[in-house]
């Protein structure tokens, strides 16, 4: 029953992002739309060199 069991999606490695991250240019979490239910997952990284 040979088959592929695991498909790993392409993602940013958060551990690696510790090396060059933290420029602080990204959008403040609450500023764009929600104003009441903050999360950071949908923010974009502004530092194109760190990814």
């Amino acid at each position: 029953m040979e088959r592929k069991h695991i498909n790993t999606l392409s993602t940013r490695n958060l551990c690696s992002s510790a090396k060059n991250g933290g420029c602080g240019e990204c959008q403040t979490s609450c500023q764009s739309a929600c104003k009441t239910s903050c999360g950071i997952a949908n923010q974009s990284c502004e530092n194109k060199e760190s990814k």
Partner: protein, 472 residues
Amino acid sequence: MIHQFKLNGYNIVLDVISGAVHVVDELAYDVIERFETQSLPQMQEDLLAKYAGGDGPADFCAAAKEDPQDFKAEVAAVHGEVQALKDAGQLFTPDSFAPLAGEFKERSKGIVKALCLHVAHTCNLNCEYCFASQGKFHGERAIMSFEVGKRALDFLVENSGTRRNLEVDFFGGEPLMNFDVVKQLVAYARSIEKQAGKNFRFTLTTNGMLVDDDVIDFANRECHNVVLSLDGRKEVHDRYRVDYAGHGSWEKIVPKFQHFVEKRGGRSYYMRGTFTHNNPDFLEDIKEMLRLGFTELSMEPVVCPPGDPYALTDADIEIVKKQYEDLAKLMLEREKAGKPFTFYHYMIDLNGGPCIYKRISGCGSGTEYMAVTPWGDLYPCHQFVGDEAYKLGDIWAGVTNTALQDEFMKCNVYAKKECQDCWAKLYCSGGCAANCLHASGSITGIYEQGCELFKKRMECAIMLAAARASEV
């Protein structure tokens, strides 16, 4: 730490610390579930019994019955794949971020990069559910003068250090009740930004009542984003979003918003609605927004004390969670049909999302982000305005309540004990400080109802990413 869940036919495993996302079949899902608690021989016996007993997909069950040795070999193969992913730092990655928590804020100490300018503590609508108490923020009606606003912008530039992108949100109340000052402030900001080496990004949040061609032209020229308040269906919207005579605003604002969005020509906007106990079936409101031609959507759960008549109940929460799932499915259907739309909370970019510093530092309220009242007082964010105990200082003297700011400096996801074992901690970063305070009495507490909904939204968002990846 991992998080496993099944949604819309996808078996998904998230490696919380590395951020890796794996879409797996049933057998791999079971192997990963047992990986840290069972030896390989134990796992082989356990899964053989499970599948030979008919508990699983038909093909695996048949394989287990027909050739147990071959099935065990397959389990061993999957076990090897999982071990390889663990060795590669993509599964069961240990949490090493705690020492970094607080480091970013310490490094950025004193830097402010975003202001919410309360240009109007007054409103032309009288929405009962408004967290800002009809725009007055529990105080007197007030309008920000140009002088106060100008000083706020200077304060921002002076305190922004090397940050280039500065965000300013015109907020209220209804900011268009002070539109002349808004225009003057933008003109002032544009006159100083080049020399200061800054790039102002303005956002306008409006209820639409005063939107006209002048507003539209201005916003399309100057605003990075506009947030347009619409709750969806007419009867839902008009239940709360009424003028002082009690008349609903839907009929007045919808044509204005349609015109606004049409003229926006692809620039960023959000239709932003609130759902309450009266419409936990908020997907119907999303559908109404789509019917009206809007495609960039945000619907937020009402924020209010639990006893309020419009507060979401435990029964509502279950409905809302199902609505989030159905919303994700609707998005996939519409994408396939060539009619995509955006839901703010589902916009996660697994490749281009925030770095770990952002993810563990919290929302930035009280440190890099503050709200400015019409008379120039500083608060940690718009949701704290009106609570004197949370006044940080003012735009002339800067932050004078340094003890309070220290509390916000130290508030991060690792400062919240309830977040330590939560799989979603690197997606919410500890959540909204104001909601946490109101729910728990402390900004380092949690807002459980908010957490529950947030986690469901993230599962849906990750499932969407998995579904899109499988389409490629």
